[in-house]
């Protein structure tokens, strides 16, 4: 197993991003989190988690993975079906197995990108096998 500490020591500043074109299955209606056809807040949470996973890609040993432990999100602006939403996550602190992210999402607006959400996220690096054993 690689020295995970050494790997993680240089993680601060690493970032990842994912883009989603909002479709019907991404709306509050589909998620059951509301009744209007705009990007669901839980879908935005998932997008930010995906961006954080991207930031960790290539930095973990094969037997390791990360699990979401905490997220705070201010969902500022609605996104209609068809909107292209990009979530970005940047590692701001590594505390042992805990990796802290700043997360932000934006979409194009008439005068450039507009922030639609901002928050923080915590992921914990775990052994995939041990984690599943403990969960059973």
């Amino acid at each position: 197993m690689p020295s995970s500490f050494d790997q993680r020591a240089g993680l601060v500043g690493s970032s990842g991003q994912v883009t989603l074109t909002v479709a019907a299955q991404d709306t509050a209606i589909a998620a059951g989190s509301g009744d209007i056809p705009v990007l669901a807040t839980p879908r935005l949470v998932a997008l930010m988690e995906a961006a954080a996973c991207e930031a960790l890609r290539g930095h973990l040993a094969p037997e390791q993975t990360s699990v979401g432990a905490n997220i705070t999100l201010d969902h500022l602006r609605p996104s209609l079906v068809g909107a292209v939403v990009t979530a970005r996550a940047e590692i701001v602190k590594v505390d042992g197995d805990r990796v802290h992210f700043a997360v932000v999402a934006d979409q194009p607006g008439p005068n450039g990108a507009v922030t639609i959400g901002t928050g923080t996220h915590l992921r914990v690096i775990v052994s995939r096998e041990k984690f599943l054993q403990r969960a059973r």
Binding site: H75, L76, R77, N111, A113, T118
Partner: protein, 71 residues
């Protein structure tokens, strides 16, 4: 007496309504923030002249950040 207007929540700056030098009455709108998926006007609580608008359209402000200063 100066009046410092601060953000009451995390928000993005939707639009700037007032300009430096504008003389505002209490209740006049300075900027419009967008938070919780709603447009939220930020108003002058007392009459005054706009000395500074401390944000730009598209900025993300945190709770307590200065939005504007009126004299």
């Amino acid at each position: 007496m100066s009046q410092t207007v601060r953000a009451e929540m995390v928000a993005s700056v939707h639009s700037i309504i007032a300009e430096v030098g504008d003389e505002l009455e209490a209740g006049d709108t300075l900027v419009i923030l967008e938070s919780m998926k709603m447009e939220i006007p930020v108003i002058a609580e007392q009459p005054g002249t706009v000395a500074e608008i401390a944000v730009q359209q598209g900025d993300v402000v945190q709770e307590g950040d200065v939005i504007a200063i009126l004299l």
